[in-house]
């Protein structure tokens, strides 16, 4: 770790050994801190894997929990199905709207677009429990707890994430493509639908996958909306539903080792789903067309 360049001036040389050792010391410190953070990540993932693998198995993925949480056996099948249904609906709600809002922001601009851009960032910082409370007031207070209410809450959480990711890639689509299309007499709408969005596709998919990963892990807003249902498999989203995250939470905070064993298996399942989505999103974005245009 030598200094990249040293001057010949003698004044600068006098303190050189000390300066070099400070440089080395700081380099080592920065290295160690980074290594520490990576070690922390490995500790978390390793711990989750170690605890989760003790119970994770076919039984866990295909059965519902026993009626009495202190009993061993059973699994989170209802939570897994619930997560898929709720996040599926949330994706269906938020992705089209999010992409449309991003199209407005980038393709049409104007005052509304600027406001939307800023508020999207603000919305990303909105605590998810507040979104949950909002959906409670909007929906649950009138129609009761339901998977659908949970989906609306998760959809609202995903919306700004989808908008920001989409807007970011839309800005990377070369203006020349739009100009070429418009010069051929193609309408604005069709230019967006057939030229701009397809070009940005991989980037949008990346953003959606990250938003889905985020929604999969959300717990707090679901406590106020979907509520959970630890007993049986529920596929009707108009009734209260469990999700993987809710089941992890409710089983983790019981005092029973058996319930905690199930919760650890659930945690591992959730972490694997989320990591596959996040890493997958990264791989897709790396291959994207738009990326190469950057």
């Amino acid at each position: 770790m030598a200094a990249p360049a040293s001057t010949s001036a003698s004044a600068a040389r006098r303190g050189l050994p000390r300066r070099l050792s400070v440089n080395t010391a700081m380099t080592v410190v920065l290295c160690l801190v980074t290594a520490g953070v990576v070690a922390l990540l490995l500790w978390i993932l390793g711990y989750v894997a170690g605890q989760g693998l003790k119970y994770l198995g076919p039984m866990f993925l295909t059965h519902t929990p026993p009626g009495d949480p202190s009993q061993a056996g059973g699994g989170f099948a209802n939570g897994i199905v619930g997560s898929l249904v709720i996040v599926g609906i949330a994706t269906g709600l938020s992705v089209p709207v999010g992409i449309a809002a991003a199209v407005h922001m980038v393709e049409y601009r104007g005052r509304l677009a600027r406001a939307c851009g800023f508020l999207t960032d603000v919305l990303i910082g909105l605590p998810s429990i507040v979104t949950g409370a909002f959906v409670y007031a909007l929906w649950v207070a009138h129609f009761g707890f339901s998977g659908l209410a949970g989906a609306v809450a998760l959809g609202l959480i995903m919306l700004p994430l989808v908008i920001r990711a989409t807007a970011e890639v839309l800005r990377l689509v070369p203006v020349e493509l739009r100009e070429a299309s418009l010069a051929l007499g193609v309408s604005r709408a069709r230019t967006v639908m057939s030229i701009v969005l397809p070009t940005a596709r991989s980037g949008i998919v990346t953003g959606v996958m990250l938003a889905v990963a985020r929604a999969m892990g959300e717990t707090a807003p679901l406590l106020l909306t979907a509520l959970g249902n630890d007993l049986f498999l529920e596929t009707n989203p108009t009734r209260r539903m469990s999700t993987l995250s809710l089941q992890i939470f409710s089983n983790a905070i019981t005092g029973f080792a058996t319930a905690q064993a199930r919760a650890w298996a659930g945690t591992l399942t959730l972490v694997v789903i989320v990591l596959v989505l996040s890493v997958g999103a990264r791989l897709i974005s790396r291959r994207g067309i738009v990326r190469s245009a950057r």
Binding site: T34, P127, A137, P160, L182, L223, F249, L270
Partner: protein
């Protein structure tokens, strides 16, 4: 209004299948963009509307002035004293978020300096990917891990601190024991890990915008790499780091489930010791929402939610403005 060239004139003559839909399309995407504003406004309106009965019963100020949360003492008619004081939740939110920020910001700056200035290029991509993975891990997982892995790991240190600092004058009450694990401190620790990736990501971006010329000039004048960082990179990035810290703070303020699992949920009053159990604004909502049966209990939780919204929006907007201004300064 029309930033793209070439669209206005041909529209009248050429009428393909898509041309009639052009206006419809434009209104549709505009509606989607407007929805973002609607959502934000509606969130505030609906929260206040839910909280309104309780606010009318007890008044706004009595919430902030009391740190006693005792739902069982609430009656349908009693107005004074307000059994739903929330000062202790505001305190818990502030303390845990500040602990998180104090711990996370230096680490995040160090990691992003390493990633932008020191790490070899092939390693950068991998390491930044790993740090980003910390952001992908769900809150409930952090909470569960916090209870079973982190608390046992920090318990000896906590007990030691309560024995030594806990008896010191002046600061003693802040570190008084006993230390059972669930506490402001552990909640702050978990939050620090959770906000680390976002602060790191922004710092990395900020450091990357420092002009290469500045760095090269420093090196050319004989600066060592660390001196280059200290003289060229850090001074230019000061406000960017501040913005990143504030945005991390905003994230910490709203974190719910992980905090609920490790803070101990002591809602009754303010606990002075950082090693003692407490509650935050977000955690009390998650913890009591489904069990809120007393008069004005649910409405009072909504009051907490409304205040949380105000605080989170303020912190995030300030952070966003700082980061944005920094970017414009550099550009």
């Amino acid at each position: 209004m029309t930033p793209l060239p070439g669209s206005p004139t041909p529209r009248r003559r050429v009428r393909g299948r898509w041309h009639g839909t052009d206006t419809v399309f434009q209104y549709a995407v505009r509606a989607a963009a407007a929805l973002v504003i609607v959502v934000l406004v509606a969130t505030a309106v609906f929260l206040v509307q839910q909280a309104w009965p309780a606010l009318r019963q007890y008044g706004i100020l009595s919430y902030l002035l009391s740190d006693r949360w005792a739902p069982s003492e609430a009656t349908a008619t009693g107005r004074h004293p307000n059994p739903y004081g929330i000062a202790q939740f505001a305190y818990g939110t502030a303390v845990t978020s500040l602990i998180a920020m104090v711990l996370a910001v230096p680490v995040a700056v160090a990691v992003s300096l390493y990633l932008t200035e020191i790490a070899p290029r092939w390693l950068r991509r991998w390491l930044s990917g790993l740090v980003d993975l910390l952001a992908a891990i769900p809150s409930v997982v952090y909470g569960f891990w916090g209870i079973f892995a982190l608390i046992p790991a920090v318990r000896p240190a906590g007990v030691w601190v309560s024995r030594t600092l806990g008896t010191a004058p002046v600061i003693g009450p802040l570190f008084a024991g006993p230390f059972f694990g669930v506490s402001y401190l552990v909640a702050g620790l978990v939050l620090a890990i959770m906000i680390l990736p976002i602060i790191t990501a922004i710092c990395r971006e900020v450091f990357a915008t420092v002009p290469t010329e500045d760095k090269e000039s420093a090196l050319a004048l004989g600066a060592t790499r660390w001196e280059m960082v200290r003289m060229a990179v850090l001074p230019r990035s000061r406000s960017g780091i501040a913005g990143a810290a504030v945005l991390g703070l905003g994230r910490a303020v709203g974190e719910t489930i992980a905090v609920t699992m490790v803070i101990g949920n002591n809602a009754l009053s303010i606990t002075t010791s950082l090693l003692g159990p407490g509650a935050t604004m977000a955690s009390v909502i998650a913890n009591e929402f489904t069990e809120s049966t007393e008069p004005f209990h649910l409405q009072s939780l909504m009051v907490v939610g409304a205040w949380l919204l105000v605080i989170a929006l303020a912190v995030n907007t300030v952070g966003k403005l700082i980061v944005r201004r920094t970017r414009e300064d550099i550009a």
